[in-house]
Symmetry: C2
Subunit: 255 residues, 2 copies
């Protein structure tokens, strides 16, 4: 009898979030689950790793028999610790999320959830990051769970291409209102940032990041368009950031 796949689950909202609990429920249907996730919110930590101070791991006992550890570091730290200290090897599948809030477009660079999946791709582990377009702590994840089930099943059947992870975003809709799935490219969109600038109790200035997301890329083939139209978007994502299309142009600079 074939062993059940070993599935590593992590996220960036922290181990106590509803999103990771929802993902564990689905993951258990497909294999033996091990959880290594941040002990506190780590949203927007991107591909940050902890090198200036040590990390802690603690057993986490609230997942009803599932082996789980909370980690003092970032999502990418969690993946590294899972592989090199807990599993002593690679899992068969890495799942990250389900994120509270979407990670479409350039958010893939800021997202700890997606950076954990990208780290998995760097280790050549089949890896998928899931995000739901709802930031609230008690968001309804049943639609995202349904989508995750379909995508995990298909990924295990077809195999995710080498050194690639999937960036999956699910619209905040009831399950039966989801239109299906779209394979997309990352939209060219950005944050129109601004800062709340205020005075603290000592009269000193502080700044707090805020802003609005602007989509300047309304093409049919993007994750943002798919989401807007009620589809689950799937962007195959890699870690080669070379701008190949301009290599020749730069070679003509004759530096």
């Amino acid at each position: 009898m074939k062993n059940r796949p070993k599935i590593l689950v992590t996220n960036d909202d922290g181990i106590t979030s509803k999103g990771i609990f929802s993902l564990i429920q689905v993951a258990k249907e497909f294999g033996d689950v091990i959880v290594v996730a941040p002990d506190k919110p780590q949203s927007a930590t991107g591909h940050s790793i902890t090198i200036h101070h040590p990390l802690r791991l603690n057993k986490y006992i609230n997942f009803d028999g599932v082996e789980a550890y909370s980690c003092s570091g970032t999502p990418v730290d969690c993946v590294k610790l899972a592989i090199y200290e807990i599993l002593n090897g690679k899992p068969d599948l890495l799942l990250s999320g389900i994120n509270h809030g979407e990670n479409t477009s350039t958010n893939v660079l800021y997202s700890g959830t997606m950076s954990a999946a990208v780290e998995g791709a760097m280790e050549n582990i089949p890896s998928i990051g899931f995000s739901l377009a709802n930031f609230s702590v008690d968001a309804e994840f049943s639609g995202a769970q349904w989508a995750a089930r379909q995508i995990i099943s298909k990924s295990m059947e077809k195999n995710i291409p080498e050194n690639t992870c999937l960036n999956v975003n699910v619209p905040d809709l009831p399950m039966d209102s989801l239109k299906g799935f779209r394979i997309c490219r990352q939209a060219h969109a950005f944050w129109a940032d601004r800062f709340d600038k205020r005075l603290d109790q000592f009269g000193k200035t502080y700044y707090w990041l805020t802003g609005e997301f602007s989509n300047i890329d309304t093409h049919e083939d993007t994750d943002l368009t798919a989401m807007k139209n009620g589809f689950v978007s799937i962007v195959p994502t890699h870690f080669d950031m070379t701008a190949y299309q301009v290599l020749d142009k730069l070679k003509n600079w004759n530096l």
Copy 2:
């Protein structure tokens, strides 16, 4: 008379490092410099941004008349604060570094220095990240300064392509031993990680990331090969992480 270009300088080693001082010296030859850089080391913070707590900016007075601010956040926070709070607009050029330690290959994802340049590219600011292959605090930057001077000059003449930044790495060699410049792609290499696992004074375990860099990609056209052969490597870098080459394969999954 044409105004001098406005040049934003940042880094990830912190505002007191020798690397940023070395870069400011070069930048002043090309325009009016403004510095916004982390108030402490922020290496390996990747594209992390600070959203869970506010940020502080303080005037920094030790750059001999150059307007400078230290920031409590990450390199990407520094870029955002510079654009949206200090300059109230985009600089003509963004320079990040000179990093103490190289940022070739997949290190582009972990590097705060390069993430600041990528953030610049997202804002469509001509942006260049510089790194020297020497981690020491008193590294000799004259070779890297020479390289930076050539590349900045050429970039201002030829224009960096839209939404692209340059990832420049300089071998740790005396200036007259540098072989020249190579336009490269990002090598497919990775960290073979491990953790130092030790007990603290209370008998509790802690983990500290360490490891060695492994190059499994020895092709001629990579940044690692250029560096190994004594050339300054220049990788045009963008923020579209879509794995275009597998889009059709995934579409055939018929999800």
